[in-house]
Amino acid sequence: MITIRVLYFVLALALFTVVLLAVGLYYFVRAQRRKKYPYGKWEDILKRLTIVDRDSIEMIARDFTVESGRAGAQAVGPDLDPSEIWDLVGGMRGLEELEKNCEALVDLVFYVQQWYPEALLLAEQLRQSTREIQWRVARLKGAEKAGHLKDWFPEAAQRVVVQYLSMTHKVLALYERGGYPGLSELQRTL
């Protein structure tokens, strides 16, 4: 006769076995997928990219370049105030999206390695830029907690945007130069 104690034991055993098999299956599928697509799946990498308003970030980057070169060249151009930069970037959330996009950009270059092994150098450069962007965003988060976000945001956000834009240019140039598949989708997304 099945007592309540036996029932509990069998249920616990069944739960344990199901969890065990489910976790095992998850890792098995992951290993198989990695074996099938050692460089990742193009569509999956592209899906990770969030579409960013290119005009806005280009405007911020232009402003930063003008600001940096103003002393020497006395260039005239857009002069954005901090609140405009905040709006154009989309605040901290916008910066976090750029941060995530950077990781996808590194993977997009890594993907090209299957035809062009030298792309590893660019992947490494982009990885370093990504680390820098992550560091800046982390500092901004720290400033947000400390209540100094307004002081730090404009310059840090501009630097992040410039670096991100430069990364996208490099990725597009690599795909254009090599004539790799998926260039048009990439241009549309970036």
Binding site: M1, I2, T3, R5, V6, Y8, F9, V10, A12, L13, A14, F16, T17, L20, V23, G24, Y27, F28, R30, A31, R34
Partner: protein, 259 residues
């Protein structure tokens, strides 16, 4: 108490399998790398012979005493094998990674608690205290081996480690057998008493047969040499040592800043 034909067949095949496996472990010098596993297989060989002799020349009581004594040794060695394989898989350089030590320890404690909870749950189907304890002990080691196997699978996928090392082969065989051990324990608890109901008996036979398959698997996979270890060149080792030191220093600085 006369053994059935199938029990005699399993006994013979088991003894043969254990002898061949022990020979493989000794001849191919695997016993040096896995001393506890070799001791477990050696104990199984001695147990099979001793129990047979006791069964022939002594009574039921001495047979049961010998059986339980060997079972206790077997249980201790099984736990030892879990530790041996875990230490080979999770700390290949002989030391635990400094920053993951706390996390690993917590994970180990959680695994042990889960195993203890499951092992303490079943209603004792046996009246003898020692047999009950041994059943629970076997269940405990089965759960631990299953957890170890899962941890090894996860780590192999995560860190892209090879699946063909000898430690992985031993864990694969033990993992499959232990998973079946869990299912057997469940069936035994539902049917009430070991070997009284046909289903229970069939499950036990299936489990024994699986163990024989595991023995063959170990013999076949432990005979050839494993994949060569990916050794670091002295330059890379020095470079990594430097990186590790600077990381440790930076980490300390960052932690101080955080405080």
């Amino acid at each position: 108490m006369h053994p059935t034909h199938i029990e005699i067949l399993f006994w013979r095949l088991g003894l043969l399998g254990h002898c061949v496996l022990l020979l493989v472990l000794l001849v191919r010098h695997r016993a040096k790398v896995f001393p506890v596993f070799a001791a477990l297989i050696g104990t199984n060989v001695v147990r099979s012979v001793v129990l047979y002799v006791v069964h022939l020349h002594a009574g039921r009581v001495p047979y049961l005493d010998t059986y339980f004594s060997f079972a206790l040794v077997d249980f201790s060695l099984q736990i030892g094998v879990v530790w041996e394989i875990a230490s080979k898989v999770f700390r290949p350089t002989g030391v635990w990674a400094a920053d993951t030590r706390a996390g690993t320890l917590i994970l180990l404690v959680v695994c042990a608690v889960v195993a203890l909870v499951i092992a303490s749950m079943p209603a004792p189907p046996e009246r003898r205290v020692l047999k009950d304890l041994l059943d629970r002990g076997n269940l405990l080691s089965s759960v631990l081996v299953c957890e170890l196997f899962l941890g090894m699978v996860a780590l192999s996928v995560q860190a892209r480690l090879p699946w063909k090392t000898h430690a992985a082969r031993i864990a694969q065989g033990l993992g499959c057998y232990s998973l079946l051990g869990l299912l057997t324990a469940g069936v035994h608890n539902i049917t009430g008493l070991v070997r009284r109901l046909p289903v229970s008996h069939e499950v036990s036979v299936f489990r024994e047969a699986t163990y024989l398959v595991c023995l063959v698997y170990w013999i076949v996979t432990l005979w050839p040499n494993g994949p060569p270890p990916r050794e670091l060149t002295p330059e890379m080792r020095r470079f990594l040592f430097g990186v590790e030191r600077s990381l440790e220093y930076n980490l300390k600085k960052l932690r101080l800043l955080k405080k």
